[in-house]
Structure formats: C-alpha cells, structure tokens
C-alpha cells in the first residue's frame, strides 16, 4: 500500500506526464520529500520557506490540509492526496504574495 497523489496538469512536467503518482511518509512533509526523490523539482512548486505555497491547494482525501495540520498533517497508506493550484487573480495586488 502507498499514498496516491493526484498531480495537476501544470505540474505533470515533473511526473513524466503522469496524472497520479505514489509515495509514502508519515506526514505530508515526508510524503513530499519522498516524491521529490523521484520527481525532482516538485517540492519547490508545493512549498516555500514558510510552508505550503499560498496558491497551491493540497487535499488529504476531501479536506484542505490547511484546515488539518498543514505540512505536519499525518498521512497513512491508502490515503488520497490531491494537489490543485488555486484559481485566483484579480485587478489588484494579491492579498498574500506566495
């Protein structure tokens, strides 16, 4: 068993076009590190030095991990993780550059 991670179109350049990849880890941060070992460059698109990037949404099963524990959210085999870039913009400056 492992954790399935669904990858959005714009990040599939890091997964050789795959829509979903598998990984393991006890927390979301560990899972992302594990993915990075096979899909170099992916981590940088998901996290910055303050944690998860502001305009990248990561869901554990159906829940936005921001409402769970962010990068420290525990994950287990059989979980489904979905990555979706925010759909956002607007005439003014972004309220949170990130």
């Amino acid at each position: 068993m492992s954790i399935e991670v669904r990858i959005p179109t714009i990040l599939r350049t890091y997964t050789a076009g795959e829509k979903a990849v598998e990984g393991s880890g006890a927390t979301l941060a560990e899972l992302i590190d594990d993915l990075e070992s096979r899909h170099g460059g992916l981590r940088d698109r998901l996290v910055d030095d303050r944690g998860l990037r502001r305009f990248v949404n990561v869901y554990l099963n159906d829940e936005d991990v921001r409402f769970l524990g962010g990068l420290e959210t525990p994950v287990t085999d059989g979980d489904h993780v979905t990555v979706l870039p925010a759909v956002a913009g607007g005439a003014g400056p972004s309220p949170h550059v990130g």
Binding site: T9, I10, F55, D62, V87, A88, G89, G90, A91
Partner: protein, 153 residues
C-alpha cells in the same frame, strides 16, 4: 481563437454584472481536448473583493473532481475586473495555472458598454486572441476551406 456560444457569452456577462462591484469568476468546461466550452459553471468568489478573486478551496476540489469524472477540462476560466480594463493584471498573470485554458476577462466598469476579451497566459506571457460568438456549436458552419474538403474527390 476562442469560439463560444452566445448563451454562454451572455451568461458570463450577466454573472459579472450581478456580482459587480465585486469580481465574478467561473469556468466553462468542455470535453478534454475539444476546445469547446459547453458547461457554464459560475463559481463563488471566496475573496468577495472588488480587486481579487479566488475559487473557494472546497468548491475547487468538487469542480475538478466533477470535470475529471466526465473527462472534461476548464476550457474557459473567466473573471471580471470592475473598475479597470478587461486585460490580465500582474496578479492574473502570476497566478494563471492553466496553460491550455482561454482566460476570459470581462470589465464591468461601464454599465452600458460590454468588454469581453480572451487571452492565453502561458509561463507569464499574455497573448490576446479573437473571440468568435456562435449561436450554437450544433449549427455552426464547419470551417472547411475547399482544399480541406472531406472526403477528398
């Protein structure tokens, strides 16, 4: 070029007018690879702001799940500017994450004048494209020039 049905074009403008002075946003989904925006899906602007929009995080997941189940993609991603021109702002460009989508911008700065423009936004580069409004995809004339006639004579 963006080819869009009149009913969808009107629905996007109506949504933008309705939510004015806040920005309105949504997508028009279509079969993956078809370039045909068929399913109008207005979204809630979770930012409820006259200068920013963002799909609600839970709504975003539900939207992408539903499109995925139907083998659809967001052919059009639209939003409004409420005091400025219908042209992608620096924020729009920085946050554009769908390189294959038509980014439609509507301006509601004038109550009488319609500003509806479409752009590609790829890796920070903005390219405006023509907008063709058709009555219906079903009755639209097939765009075949004589030497592309099928079957060949």
């Amino acid at each position: 070029m963006l080819t869009i049905e009149l009913a969808t074009y009107d629905a996007i403008i109506a949504h933008a007018r309705r939510d004015h002075p806040d920005e309105a946003c949504g997508v028009v989904a279509g079969p993956a690879g078809s370039d045909r925006p068929q399913g109008f899906i207005p979204m809630l602007n979770a930012a409820r702001s006259p200068t920013f929009y963002e799909f609600d995080s839970a709504d975003l997941l539900a939207l992408y799940r539903a499109m995925d189940d139907r083998d659809e993609e967001p052919v059009v991603v639209y939003h409004s500017h409420t005091a400025t021109e219908a042209y992608p702002s620096r924020t729009d460009v920085a946050l554009a994450m769908e390189p294959s989508a038509h980014y439609v911008l509507v301006s509601t700065r004038s109550p009488d004048e319609v500003e509806f423009r479409s752009f590609r936004i790829v890796e920070g580069e903005v390219t405006e494209e023509e907008v063709e409004v058709v009555e219906s995809f079903l009755t639209a004339e097939p765009d075949l020039s004589p030497d592309e006639e099928f079957p060949p004579r």
